[in-house]
């Protein structure tokens, strides 16, 4: 019914109407982004007011390094959610990759084999998710829930629940170091975001991801190999978990089966706050980045001022609900 009304109003428009430069969704996205950035800035101001050291170079560097791993995981999660899926196993894949790359056997081969190991383990686990979902027709929630449990289980078994310290000095030297005055971890986050943005917005891979999430049936009937693409999207998410594992291992100089705890929840929260639709087909990586930063800033404010973590969690919950309400409100306004 509403479609019909919409149609009739459109038809009354003059035929030579000049097209608006921006699509309505672009505008709506912009409003939401502006609000998100406003929230981020406001939080920084609060942090600064409570403690001027908040905006000091040291604290910013600490914050960004803490945000790096979860940021990389959130990039993968953004792809998965835009494609209409969900990945609950990212934290466990980070744990498994971090343990596998730090076993004594792996460390013997030197830093680059450790890196390669993390990437392959992440990619492999992600592809298992993807194949189960795309070809085995297991719903994403269940397939990745199974991976969530078993990947961490395997990590515990491999490490015998011990923290595995990095003995390979070359690894620590490089990944804990700086590059042109900026920590390598922050570079990695920046590169992953930049590459992710190009992949999502400028390539056929990204276009297909949006198409599948927007309408999988229409994508299939347009000749897109939906199954293969779905498997690849989960593979990408897994690969990025491998990257995140390298970053976590570098920061803590150890691999442990407890790494990446609750990453799945933080990543999903960041993606949703960033304005990506949980039902798929619409979303931005910029939004995800801001979502990650908002959480990082909140964390930092709480730890700097020695506030209880329980209040911190309440604040997180309020932010998630607030962001989603904002999303429904802005989209409702745009429809009327």
């Amino acid at each position: 019914m509403s479609d019909v009304t919409e149609k009739s109003t459109l038809d009354e428009r003059p035929a030579v109407q000049t097209a608006p430069a921006k699509s309505t969704s672009g505008l709506r996205m912009d409003i939401r982004l502006t609000i998100l950035i406003g929230v981020l800035v406001a939080l920084c101001v609060v942090g600064y007011a409570l403690n001027p050291a908040f905006l000091g170079e040291t604290n910013i560097s600490i914050m960004l390094r803490l945000a790096a791993a979860i940021g990389v995981v959130s990039v993968g999660m953004t792809f998965v959610i835009i494609s209409g899926g969900i990945d609950l196993s990212v934290g466990s894949m980070v744990a498994l990759s971090s343990v596998w790359m730090t076993t004594l056997a792996t460390q013997e081969y030197g830093p680059w084999v450790m890196v390669l190991c993390a990437l392959l383990v992440g990619l492999g686990a992600g592809l298992i998710n993807g194949v189960l979902i795309a070809y085995g027709k297991v719903v994403p929630f269940i397939a990745t829930l199974a991976m969530y449990a078993s990947a961490r289980g395997l990590a515990e078994r491999l490490s015998e629940r011990q923290t595995q310290v990095v003995r390979e000095q070359g690894f620590s030297d490089f990944f804990r170091g700086d590059l042109i005055g900026i920590p390598v971890l922050i570079w990695m986050l920046a590169v992953v975001f930049a590459v992710g943005w190009v992949l999502l917005n400028r390539t056929t891979f990204g276009r297909r991801t949006f198409a599948i999430g927007g309408n999988a049936e229409a994508a299939r009937l347009a000749g897109i190999n939906v199954k293969l693409h779905t498997a690849m999207v989960y593979g990408l998410a897994g690969l990025l978990c491998g990257v995140a594992a390298i970053m976590v291992v570098a920061r803590t100089t150890s691999g442990a089966s407890t790494n990446g705890m609750f990453y799945e929840l933080d990543a999903i929260a960041a993606v949703v706050i960033g304005g990506t639709l949980l039902s798929g087909g619409r979303g931005t990586l910029i939004g995800t980045l801001i979502g990650v930063l908002i959480f990082t800033v909140v964390n930092s404010i709480f730890t700097q001022n020695n506030l209880e973590t329980d209040i911190q969690n309440i604040a997180k919950g309020v932010i998630i609900v607030g962001a989603v309400l904002l999303q429904t409100l802005t989209s409702r306004r745009a429809k009327t």
């Binding site: 019914m1 459109l10 038809d11 608006p20 400028r202 276009r207 927007g214 309408n215 000749g223």
Partner: protein, 507 residues
Amino acid sequence: MSEPTDEVLLTMSGIVKTFPGVRALDGVDLEVRAGEVHCLLGQNGAGKSTLIKVLSGAHQPDEGHIIWRGRPTTLNSPVAALRIGIATMYQELDLVDGLSVAENIFLGHEPATFGFSNRRAARNQTRELMRRLGHPEIPPGREVALLSAAGQQLVSMARALAHDARLIIMDEPTAALAADEVDNLFRVVEDLTNDGVAVVYISHRLEEIRRIGDRVTVLKDGRTVATNLPADTPTGDLVNLMSGRMVETVFPLREVSTVDEGNEVLRVEGLSRKGEFENVSFSVHAGEIVGLAGLVGAGRSEVLETVYGARKSDAGSVWVNGKRMRPGSVTSAVAAGVGLAPEERKSQGLLLDQSVANNVTLASLPEYSTFGFTDRSKELKDSRATLERLDMRPADPRRLVRTFSGGNQQKAVVARWLVRDCKVLLLDEPTRGVDVGARAELYRLIHELAAAGVAVVLVSSEVPEVLGLSDRVLVMREGRLLTEAAAKDLTEASILDMVMEGSEVVV
């Protein structure tokens, strides 16, 4: 056959219902007596479904009166209709699969004591209802999903009876049933009418109407053209009443036939899919428009989707330009130059929340990219050119598809195949939900494509449309190809006659 009484149960007079741009009902009169089976006949778009929706309370009429058992009545909602005793059995059964028979029957009005549902009472009443329907063997605790189509229909009917319905609307109740199940259904209908319950029965199958109907009302163009006809009115008379619809759109004349007889582009040989259609063979030449006529459920869309590879054939083959297509592979069909504008434009065709350009290039992404990077300027340029060619307004490729009217959305689907020079275009109900103006443009476009050498296969439930556009018409009924004939040798009435009776007409 039951003996209808003279008690008038329901009188509808002068019912008008308009939707923006469409006058779906334009003065319908209907009188239903207690204990009769009253049949509604009419072509697609004649207004049958809208009338049912008015009667079941889903739509409110703009004008007209409804008198129910002697009292003027308004039906504000389906619940209100149910409360006074009008129940509807929809074509798509509206049962909850995971619940039991009893739970479905009493959904929303569970027998309860102090808020606790009284499961035993529900079960006993269910057993009672099933006995009344002649099927005591269906256990009240059985999960509905485990029942056959006929069993589910009985549950649906029991639900109507549980509401003490005096009038039951049945919309194509036999569509999903096997022959013996149909007999069962008719026996139940007879029992019901003997108890004084009235049935409004909608079916395209004239032989069914003959068997159980008492009186017939014929709708055309949203109006009652004949009412209270006896059920044994000759087929010819009924078909004549239904046909000759006012066609608001003038079909563009094709001065010259563009059919290139020597150039067979699409050949379908013995295509079958179990339970959907059997042994379908036809061919389409370059520049030819072939129409597939038939009732909804005759298997036309299924044939089209199987030719396209969206469904996998059980037997038979599809050839495009002499090359055999891999069954069940859309990718190979698209690569060979086949395009499909699917039946459900919104759910199967479009990315509603994305730009027109994204939708237009969806099937040609490799052509619009270098090393995987999309060429956005070429994409926008080509999309804009195509939109202008299709006279889409506004011709802005960056606008979201959702913001366009139905006709323009359909054009966006067709544009997807125009940017890649397709050889075979399969159009499934291309004008459904499209306003009159855009229809004419789509017709013109289809002719233009044929003139450019595209082989077009058109499925439409509107018989005048198939006749007006096609060079050749294939008539389908119940999964089989009945007849193939040049469009000029057929009339609306002869096609209707075939799809409804299944009689082979010598042309």
